[in-house]
């Protein structure tokens, strides 16, 4: 288990941390929804299988029983309808937090997200707004094949008016989700499904680890927020900066440990707004940068990160910025681990980049 630097952001007091419960990512997300629903009657939660059953990943378990069917309910299988109605609810003044069962299913809702949710404030000059959160499980690693493994974050970061968040651990997942629900603008909340039940460093052939052993599974029961738009340095280092988010944060830490390269690992947490300041400060220090993501390479979010690093750190760079990503293919089923950019692929990139003179 790699060692994590404890960085507490938010309003939880020290005494709360002393007796903190351990949560999986699922429990942390559920806790965020619970805390938000308890604090604000306007928060409503719905989606496919979300009500009585509590969601296929159990993130909304118990919420219907606790808050009633008008606050947490099942929706028809219509992503267009789920997001379209949520936009209407948000315009009314509610704070809907809807679940799309898999990010791969979001395409029927894409028009509603891009043409409507993202632009409502702008096109009405603030007359109508859309404080809406769309949660969706993202990424691979569960043998989900091409329809349960995609990482479509770049399709959201490319859209003006959206915020895009990808947590990497239970503590952040709860704080970021509460912040997203309280945010006045639409937020896409991508939940790396391979992290739901435990940290995953990409070594699929090793025993599964549980969140309980991980420092960042200590999650306060009450309300706290992790601010959107702030990255965090998970490991300080001098040789190279790794920019990662979601599952890839754990892959990065594993690869660093295995290669012994003194890399700085930055967990972006929010892709938009992006914490360019933290990125630029790190790359200015290390002079090298690897961008890591599970999504396909071409026009991926890594392309944006690479361009920004080039624009803002050009005179500090000692090697070309490298990208380690999924291949430009659909996510395969049987060949999942050949597709997944795991620690060995990143490890090779780390060795290559530090050798570049």
């Amino acid at each position: 288990m790699p060692s994590y630097r404890r960085i507490c952001v938010g309003s939880a007091s020290r005494s709360e941390f002393d007796a903190m419960p351990r949560m999986t990512m699922i429990e942390a997300i559920r806790s965020a929804l619970d805390v938000s629903m308890a604090r604000n009657d306007d928060v409503v939660v719905y989606g496919e299988d979300v009500g009585f059953f509590g969601g296929v990943f159990r993130c909304t378990q118990g919420l219907q029983q606790k808050y009633g069917v008008s606050r947490c309910f099942d929706a028809p299988i219509s992503e267009c309808g789920i997001v379209g109605t949520a936009i209407g609810m948000a315009a009314y003044g509610l704070r809907p937090c809807v679940e799309l069962q898999f990010a791969d299913y979001m395409y029927p809702a894409y028009d509603q997200i891009v043409s409507e949710a993202a632009r409502l404030r702008y096109r009405s000059a603030g007359d109508f707004t859309c404080p809406l959160v769309i949660r969706m499980p993202t990424g691979g690693g569960i043998f989900g094949g091409q329809t349960h493994s995609q990482s479509p974050e770049a399709l959201f970061t490319h859209v003006a008016g959206l915020k895009t968040v990808v947590p990497s651990n239970p503590y952040d997942a709860k704080g970021l989700l509460i912040a997203a629900i309280e945010d006045p603008d639409p937020v896409i909340f991508l939940e790396p499904k391979r992290l739901y039940n435990g940290p995953f460093d990409g070594h699929h052939d090793r025993p599964v680890t549980a969140w309980a052993k991980h420092e960042l599974s200590e999650v306060p029961e009450g309300h706290y927020t992790t601010p959107l738009g702030k990255a965090v340095t998970r490991r300080a280092g001098e040789a190279v900066t790794i920019l990662a988010y979601g599952t890839m944060v754990h892959v990065a830490l594993a690869a660093v440990e295995e290669t012994g390269v003194d890399a700085e690992v930055i967990d972006l947490r929010t892709l938009l707004p992006l914490d360019l300041e933290t990125i630029a400060a790190s790359v200015a220090k290390t002079g090298r940068c690897i961008v890591l993501h599970e999504a396909t390479l071409t026009s991926g979010f890594g392309a944006e990160l690479t361009a920004l690093v080039q624009e803002h750190c050009f005179y500090h760079l000692e090697a070309p910025v490298m990208r380690v990503t999924g291949w430009d293919t659909p996510y395969p089923h049987a060949q999942e681990w050949d597709y997944f950019p795991g620690p060995s692929r990143l490890g090779q990139a780390l060795r290559d980049i530090v050798e570049t003179r």
């Binding site: 309808g81 379209g84 509610l94 043409s115 409507e116 404030r121 096109r123 000059a125 707004p273």
Partner: protein
């Protein structure tokens, strides 16, 4: 089994095309007053026939007859006539302004004025419309300032939307008028969500969704019907069938369902079909559906049978795809003339008063236009700031937009 003949691919065609004789023999029109008026708590399966008929109140002599005659005073009807006349005059002036290069684009309502003007009067002050681009009567009949509408059309310095939106894509929460997207059908399902929210909050406000015949083919329309039906949302689902979606006749979207109202039947949503050029019938049917929603009885689908007498927009020329004089042959007539005739027959109006009112409205609209043009038109005079490009993308300007705004030097 072997088929005796090869398969045949079917593409519907309108009854006539340019050069042909207008033909509305396929539009079956019941007599005014002949369609029954069920109680608002009727079970949808008991009124399935109403989805295939047309509710009409005004007959050929301009008399209001039958069970749907609404409870509107003569003063209220005169006000309704003035709203429609104002909308028509407004359209004419803005159409001309576009031709004069004062704006990029305009969309007229000609022939469809009754639908939005009557609906607005039937709706409550706190209710919310999710309109398309051809329901400006919802604003005019609710006393939204004509100057503000024109400033939006001109994208000038007084434009409430700061120059960001295409002309006629108004927005006014205060007037129960949701921001128009410009994408089709997307807002139909949002109206259902807004109505669901009102029910979740145990409020009394209801929503009105709007869509045209052509865009009922979008999946958003069907999602809206599913959600409205499942959650019994307090929403009125309005389909304005003006026969033409740009150059595409309504049969292409309607397919084999007979009518657009009939789309509601499979969802268990009561569906009414109404003469959209009959102000009284339109008002009465809207009132019925609004009352139903308000009483927690759920959604109603209304198809307004009307005719788009003008072009789709200033970028369109209908003579390329439909007979030139088709609009004159439209069997449901003109909504302004029909209400005018009704008021004259009732002794509440006259040709002289009509002429006077026309002149008075024209003067009002011209005065508003002068006032609006003093704030600028699209290519001259005051315009919104380049700074406005960056505001309202988010509640707070994020760092990357701050950097971009600095680049443009504002």
């Amino acid at each position: 089994m072997t088929s005796p003949t090869p398969l045949h691919f079917h593409v519907p065609e309108p009854a006539s095309r340019p050069g042909g004789k207008p033909d509305f023999s396929g539009v079956s029109i019941p007599k005014a007053g002949s369609v029954r008026r069920p109680p608002v708590d009727v079970l949808p399966e008991e009124i399935r026939d109403l989805a295939y008929s047309i509710i009409r109140v005004l007959n050929h002599e301009g008399r209001a007859i039958g069970p749907w005659v609404p409870d509107l005073s003569q003063d209220e009807l005169v006000a309704g006539l003035r709203h429609m006349m104002t909308l028509r005059t407004f359209d004419a002036r803005m159409q001309m302004a576009q031709r004069q290069g004062k704006t990029s684009f305009y969309m007229q309502h000609t022939g469809e004025e009754a639908v939005s003007c009557a609906f607005r009067i039937a709706l409550g002050p706190d209710d919310m419309n999710f309109p398309t681009y051809r329901q400006a009567g919802l604003l005019i009949a609710h006393d939204y300032p004509l100057v503000d509408m024109m400033c939006q059309i001109y994208s000038n310095e007084h434009d409430p939307l700061k120059g960001r939106q295409l002309p006629v894509m108004y927005s006014s929460k205060k007037h129960g008028f949701f921001s128009i997207s410009g994408n089709l059908a997307t807002q139909f399902v949002q109206a259902v969500g807004w109505a669901m929210a009102s029910a979740i909050k145990r409020n009394h406000r209801i929503a009105a969704a709007w869509i045209g015949d052509g865009s009922t083919a979008e999946s958003d329309f069907h999602a809206a019907l599913v959600f409205a039906s499942t959650y019994k949302a307090p929403v009125v689902l309005n389909v304005v069938n003006n026969q033409w979606a740009i150059s595409t006749f309504q049969g292409i979207a309607r397919g084999g369902s007979g009518t657009f109202a009939a789309r509601g039947l499979g969802f268990g949503i009561p569906a009414l079909r109404v003469d959209g050029n009959d102000y009284l019938a339109t008002y009465a049917v809207a009132k019925w559906a609004i009352e139903r929603a308000r009483l927690n009885l759920g959604p109603t689908l209304i198809e307004y049978v009307t005719y788009r007498a003008g072009a789709h927009s200033t970028s369109d020329d209908p003579s390329a795809y439909r007979p030139k004089h088709e609009s004159e042959e439209w069997p449901l007539g003109d909504p302004v003339i029909r209400l005018k005739q009704h008021l004259i027959a009732a002794g509440a109006w006259s040709e002289e008063r009509h002429k006077q009112t026309e002149a008075e409205i024209l003067a009002t609209v011209i005065a508003a236009q002068k006032e609006a043009e003093a704030f600028g038109t699209l290519h001259s005079g005051g315009k919104p700031s380049a700074r406005d490009i960056f505001e309202d993308v988010y509640a707070e300007l994020p760092p990357h937009l701050r950097r971009q705004r600095q680049q443009i030097g504002v």
